[in-house]
Amino acid sequence: MEKQDLLRVYRSMKTIREFEERLHLEIQTGEIAGFTHLYSGQEASAVGVCDALSKDDYIVSTHRGHGHCIAKGCDVKGMMLEIYGRAGGLCKGKGGSMHIADFDVGMMGANAIVGGGPPLAVGAAIAAGIDGNGNVAVAFGGDGSSNQGTVFEAMNLAVVLKAPALFVFENNGYGEHTGDEYAVGAESIQARSAAFGMLSLAADGNDFFDVYEKTAQALEHARAGRGPVSLELQTQRYFGHFEGDPQKYRAAGEVEKARQEDDCLLRFRARVTGDGSLTEAELDAVDAEVLALIDEAVAEARQAPAPTPDDVLTDVYVSY
C-alpha cells in the first residue's frame, strides 16, 4: 500500500475509534436518546473490508453500524447530528443511531433487526449481477446474527443465483450477553458458511492487513462471477452490548488485555512504523486532525436545531 493509502486507512480507523469513545462519554450526559451500540475495538474489520471496496459497491449494516458507516464514507458530522436526533442529521433525525444510511456512498442502511440486512444485500448483488457492472454487495453481521434464519436464507439464495455478495461475520464473541461458543452450534461460522456451498474465508479481525487481503480475495472471486463469499472475522468489542450493559459475561481483565495487547490501531501503528512506511509523527498528526473533527462534530450537533413536529408526517411515501 502507498503511504497515502495507509494514512487514509489509519484516519478511517481512528475516526471510528474517537467517534465511539466520545459517544461513550457523551451518552453519559443524557443528551443522546435511544439505543446506541458502539463499535470500538472492531475498527480493523469495518475498514479492512470497506477500504477494499469501491464507492459503487454496497454495504448493508447492523445495529452496531457507526464503524461501517464511517468506513464506507458517510459524513461524520451528518452521522453525529443524526445520533443527536437533529434535523440536519443524515436521516433528518428520523432514524437515529440504528438507522443511518447514505445511498450516495453505497451505504444501504444500518438495521435494528438482527438478520434484517443480508437478504437486502443479496438483492443489491442480484441487481449488480443483472447490470454486469462488477459491483459487490456486502452484508455485515455479528456472530449472534449468524444463527438467524434470514441470514441462512440469504446465503443459500446467493449461492443459488451466484450473486456477487460478501457475507462478513464479525465475531466479537458475544451476541448481547451470550457467547458465540454457546449460540453457534457449528464448529465455526466459517465452516458452516462453507457448507452452504460458497468460498468461505476467515481473518484476524484486529489486523487490518489480514482483513483487507481476505476481502480483496473475496471480491476478486465475486466480481469474476464465481458466486458469493463468506468471511469470518475474529474481533472484540470494548464497550458493553449497549450503553449501560453490566457486562457480567466478561472475563476479568478481558477488555483491558485486548486494549493493550490486541488493539487494531496499536497493531497498525506498530506495523507501519516498524517497516518504515509511516512515522509516529505522521500518525500523531492524523490523531490530532481526527480529534478536532470529532470535537467539532459534537459541538455542532449539540447546538444544531431539532426537527419540528411537522417533520413527523413527511418521508413516509414518495407520493400518497
Binding site: C91, P119, V122, A127, G149, T150
Partner: protein
C-alpha cells in the same frame, strides 16, 4: 377491446412492463419452474397461478428469477434490488406466507424511506395470492390485507377484475413506493374487456359498481361480486344501494365512501377477513368519525367469523360472507328507524 381474464391481464401487464422498462424484474418460487430438473424444460410452469408464463423465454434468467423456498430472502432480495435501481415484482404464491417474511415487509420495506429521512426509495411490488373459496384450509386461504394496510409506508391494492388488474398493476410497477398487490385466487378466471396497450388506473380511486340512494355498501375484493348479487336482488325489491369497491385500501378513497354515506345515511361493509382489526372495522371507524352526522342506522359489518378458515366445503361456505348475509345486513340497515 379484447376480453380476457384476470390471470391473462396480469400476465400481459408483466410482459408489457418488462418490455417497457428493463429495470423491471420478476422473482419468486416457480415463476418459471424447471430449474435444475432433468427434463431440460426451462419453463416448466410459469407460476403456479399461470401469471408469469412466457416471461423467462422472453426476458431471460437474469430478469426472471426462480428461487428456492425462501420467502424472507425473496422479499429481502426484491427490496434490496429495488433500493439500488430495480423495480422488483416478487410473487408470494399464497398471501398466507407473509408469516415467514413479515419482517421484510413491515420492518424493512415499509420503513426505509422514513428511517432514512426520505433518501431511499424502494419501488417493489409484492404480488400476494389470497382468499378463500378453494377449500385450501386455514393456512392457504386468508385475506390478510388488513395486516398490511395497518402498516404505514406500504400501499395495498385489491383488484377485482381484469381491467383493474392491468391498470392497477401497471400503476404499482411504476409507483415509487412499495405496493402490496393482492390477487384473489377465486377471481383469476373472471373475464371482462381490458384496454389495449398502456393502461393505468390511479391509486386511491374507488369504483362505484351500483348506484342507489338507500344504503351505501362497501365491499372488498371478491366480496364485491357477492355484494353485487345482493344489491341487484334488493334493487328489485325497491332498495337502492351505492356499491363501492375501493380498489386500493391504502391509499383509501375516503371521500367516495363518505360522500355516499352522506347521501344514504346507512353503511354496510363487507370483508372476507375475520372481524377484529379488519378493513371492515377500519372503514366503520372512519365513517363513525367523519360522517357521523349523516348516519341514520348502525353500521353493519359483514365479515367472516372470528375463527380460522375451515377445510370442508360445507364449512367454508358457512364461513364466508355470501350474498344472503350481505342481503340481510343491507335490509337491516335500510329498515332501521
Amino acid at each position: 377491446m379484447p376480453v380476457m381474464n384476470v390471470r391473462q391481464a396480469i400476465n400481459e401487464t408483466l410482459h408489457q412492463e418488462m418490455e417497457r422498462d428493463e429495470n423491471v424484474i420478476v422473482l419468486g418460487e416457480d415463476v418459471s419452474g424447471g430449474a435444475g430438473t432433468p427434463s431440460g424444460e426451462r419453463e416448466a410452469i410459469g407460476g403456479i397461478w399461470g401469471t408469469t408464463g412466457g416471461l423467462l423465454p422472453k426476458f431471460g434468467e437474469k430478469r426472471v428469477i426462480d428461487t428456492p423456498i425462501t420467502e424472507s430472502a425473496i422479499i429481502g432480495a426484491a427490496a434490496g434490488a429495488s433500493l439500488v435501481g430495480k423495480r422488483a415484482v416478487a410473487e408470494l404464491m399464497f398471501a398466507d406466507f407473509i408469516g415467514v417474511c413479515m419482517d421484510q415487509l413491515f420492518n424493512q420495506i415499509a420503513k426505509f424511506r422514513y428511517m432514512f429521512g426520505g433518501k431511499a426509495k424502494c419501488p417493489v411490488v409484492v404480488r400476494l395470492i389470497y382468499g378463500a373459496g378453494m377449500n385450501s384450509a386455514a393456512q392457504h386461504s386468508q385475506a390478510l390485507y388488513n395486516m398490511l394496510t395497518a402498516v404505514p409506508g406500504l400501499k395495498v391494492v385489491t383488484p377485482t377484475n381484469a381491467a383493474d388488474a392491468k391498470g392497477l398493476l401497471t400503476t404499482a410497477i411504476r409507483d415509487d413506493d412499495p405496493v402490496m398487490f393482492f390477487e384473489h385466487k377465486a377471481l383469476y378466471t373472471k373475464k371482462c374487456e381490458v384496454p389495449e396497450g398502456e393502461y393505468l388506473v390511479p391509486f386511491g380511486e374507488a369504483q362505484l359498481l351500483r348506484q342507489g340512494d338507500d344504503v351505501s355498501v362497501v365491499a372488498i375484493g371478491r366480496m364485491a361480486y357477492f355484494a353485487e348479487k345482493a344489491v341487484d336482488a334488493l334493487a328489485e325489491q325497491g332498495i337502492g344501494c351505492d356499491l363501492i369497491e375501493p380498489r386500493t385500501l391504502s391509499p383509501l378513497d375516503e371521500d367516495s365512501i363518505i360522500d355516499s354515506v352522506e347521501k344514504t345515511g346507512r353503511l354496510v361493509v363487507v370483508d372476507e377477513s375475520p372481524p377484529r382489526c379488519s378493513i371492515a372495522s377500519d372503514l366503520a371507524g372512519i365513517v363513525a368519525g367523519k360522517a357521523f352526522s349523516s348516519l341514520k342506522a348502525p353500521i353493519e359489518m359483514v365479515t367472516a367469523p372470528h375463527t380460522p378458515i375451515p377445510f370442508a366445503r360445507e364449512l367454508e361456505r358457512a364461513y364466508l360472507p355470501g350474498p344472503d348475509k350481505i342481503s340481510a345486513a343491507i335490509s337491516k340497515a335500510a329498515g332501521y328507524r
